[in-house]
Subunit: 469 residues, 2 copies
């Protein structure tokens, strides 16, 4: 009983100290994020290489200022990983924080209301590429850590692992993890790179889709041809590519690649009923993205189609004349970037192989095709009965006043599965973004409310996780 009082007392004091510190430093916390958002760390495009490195150095400096030890940029075959740690007591649990400082390309630039790398705050939102994904959400952890250190309330050991290649498939992270197994030992991986259902409906992501991403090239004639002189007599690679892509979905929007669904984990009616309890308004959903109708696999509802079902989407297509006016040409080549989202228990490598085999098999003799695998990742489902999940749930409940809902997301964070296999650690996905944040789109933004809520909620997770271990 005494212990209980004492505990609540400590808790109250520490909570109020934490909240006071956050309140006193709010403007600086925001301005530091804006500074980072000004650096265009687009990992997919080599011409931003120097900016990617500047961003890594920015994170490194802020981590050190926040109180981390052994802060360094660990070289990889690609962009460096920012590492830093604070070991206060080896007997305490250790939280391994993962995030990424690279961002998606910002094009099409013309659709942004303000330049993607000149952040502005409007109507309570920070607008910039990376505002939410993942600079904003990653930086909440740096500032929450600073808060715990400065208020002397850090309840766990912490290790930070902030990478710069998430948007290009974390191509070198598995190697980094393998080569640093000892220094990465811990009890849980904490990640904020997902979203919540809403500010009044906090949620924790308990499942993620995997991915297989390929680029295809279809070659017809060995040079561009005059569509008048040759039209009708030779294979037009664009028409052929369209036919090949079209054939990959049947009339029910099932994917036709042989064996594609072989290992797909079908949910039970109970599980689907449980999912259906999450608040969802189809009309609002359509209105938010300007759709007159949704579109997807027969036999599944929208929230299932974008989370527990695999997909095949063309992310980019190009070929022939795309300039102003009209050019009557038959292109020599046509290209597409195609990604498939995977669900348990599909294997990225296996699906990529099946795609390649199928794509080559359906190509008519009149063209040649090439399939280049880009990157992949495995799907995951994280446990909801773990101490980490319970601690996170409790933390959200305290800051939002509502118990968070567990949801399966359609997104992919391939490294979650890799962490499990390489380090034997589960991840807890404490996302504070919203679906409406337009990540990967023009006008990406992140609510100041969400950013600050994250900084408030994270210290509570540390406290509860320490208490429960």
């Amino acid at each position: 009983m005494a212990f209980f009082c004492n505990f609540t007392l400590t808790q109250t004091t520490s909570n109020s100290m934490i909240n006071q510190y956050i309140h006193d430093n709010k403007d600086r916390f925001i301005n530091e994020l804006l500074d980072m958002l000004r650096i265009p760390s687009v990992s997919a495009d080599k011409k931003f290489k120097a900016d990617v490195l500047r961003t890594a150095e920015f994170v490194q400096a802020r981590l050190a200022e926040a109180g981390a030890d052994k802060v360094e940029l660990v070289e990889t075959a690609g962009n460096p990983v920012v590492y830093g740690e604070k070991i206060i007591d080896p007997s305490l649990p250790t939280v391994l924080v993962y995030g990424h400082y690279d961002v998606q390309p910002a094009d099409p630039y013309e659709l942004w209301n303000s330049p993607p790398f000149e952040p502005v705050i409007k109507d309570g939102n920070i607008y910039a590429r990376g505002a939410c994904d993942d600079k904003g959400q990653m930086y909440m952890h740096v500032k929450a850590f600073e808060t715990m250190v400065k208020t002397n309330t850090l309840a766990c050991n912490v290790k930070f692992m902030i990478e710069g290649e998430e948007e290009i498939g974390s191509v070198n992270l598995a190697t980094f993890v393998r080569e640093n197994k000892n220094r990465l030992q811990g009890d849980v991986i904490l990640i904020s790179d997902t979203g919540m259902l809403g500010n009044d409906t906090p949620s924790i992501t308990t499942g993620l889709r995997g991915m297989s991403y390929v680029e295809v090239e279809v070659t017809g004639p060995n040079r561009d041809l005059h569509s008048g002189l040759y039209g009708g007599a030779v294979a037009n690679p664009i028409n052929i590519l369209c036919q090949m892509i079209a054939s990959m979905h049947d009339e029910n929007n099932h994917i036709t690649i042989p064996g594609f669904y072989d290992n797909v984990q079908e949910l039970t009616q109970e599980e689907r009923a449980e999912m259906a309890r999450a608040p969802f308004n189809l009309e609002k959903y359509k209105k938010a993205i300007g759709l007159s109708d949704v579109h997807g696999e027969e036999g599944y509802v929208t929230m299932e189609r974008n989370s527990i079902r695999p997909t095949l989407d063309v992310n980019g297509i190009w070929g022939g004349y795309t300039g102003e006016g009209a050019k009557t040409v038959i292109a020599s080549k046509a290209y597409a970037k195609i990604s498939m989202r995977l669900v348990p228990n599909q294997s990225s490598e296996e699906i990529t192989e099946k795609f390649k085999k199928h794509f080559e098999s359906i190509a008519p003799k009149s063209v040649t095709v090439e399939v280049k695998p880009h990157h992949g990742g495995e799907p995951v489902v994280t446990p909801t009965d773990s101490a980490a999940y319970q601690a996170a749930s409790k933390a959200y409940e305290e800051t939002f006043g509502v118990k968070p809902v567990p949801v399966r997301s359609g997104g992919s964070i391939p490294i979650v599965a890799m962490f499990k296999s390489e380090l034997g650690l589960d991840s807890v996905l404490m996302g504070f973004g919203l679906d409406t944040d337009a990540i990967h789109s023009p006008n990406e933004h992140f609510g100041v409310f969400n950013y600050m809520k994250g900084i408030e909620t994270i210290p509570l997770f540390y406290k509860h996780f320490a208490d429960m271990k």
Copy 2:
């Protein structure tokens, strides 16, 4: 008898005078063409507007130097038409020469072995955008005219009408013709904007395909979306566009637009047998453009597919992320440029309307589509029993030593049909280019042999046409 001797004498003398003059001025004739090829007169792209005008002025100046009267740039709503004439005797027949000084866009630039607007002569060919289509072939007429004037052998009145918008559908030429009916009166229209079967197999084009050119836009969500969070639940406009395009050909490569073939003129077995007599080697054809197999409409051979049958080809397609690396996005919009080649007796306007109606009708409710007509043109068949055709045939026979073969081309010169309807004049299509000249492609070229042969053959056409009228 006396007349006959006298005639042959005159002919021989004039022929030798003409050949002497051409021989003496060959280098200058070539250099003047190279000068014109250095001006990038791309009509499809506004940024070349000034160069287009410079090219018009270049042609105007050369025509005047060659001896034309009343040379002027006639303004239109678009690029000016270069007009010039030489009326030597109202009782003589009048030849109306048509050509165009604008060229196709040169991209993709990286596939050119030498810059498209820095002409080079290699292995007897002039390499440059427009070398053949149509600057080279148009300029043959200017130099042939100069030759006839300077050697005092001009046998007909001449009128030149050289436009600057052929590659964008001659959008303002019909208006020009209507507004200049009087000054454009004549007996025949002479055009060199087509090809020959080979240097040892001269041919005259007696048929051309028409065209309907449209640009389509498919819109799904109102902004680009994250393919993880939305993939599978919303219509991906690129996938949908591919499905719509794919559905426009059936398994026999027949076009599925309702009513598309309604007015197509079917050739008789006799006509098809006659066509089949033109020299054609399928293996050579495939080898020349690097195809392992041809591809086209069931029931027709290659030479029919690219001349007497209508087509539907995607000339350009774009949407989503087309940059380096991978971006997991569902694009808001996808686009395609689509051209349909038409044959007698299809109507461009009617086909465009049918396409629009069909395209809109097959769009799923989950997307919105827009169809923008670009430009069109009507198919034509020109008579082979006319004095003009016979005069052209005789001219080729004298310079090539072989009687030319009449062929139907798959290309389109929409204005041929317009000239017939507006001026009541037939055209004779004296082409000197080859299918291998790569017009509309990188490394377009024109044989010096062909250029000079054209300059030699054209004066003979004038002579025979005058004799036959």
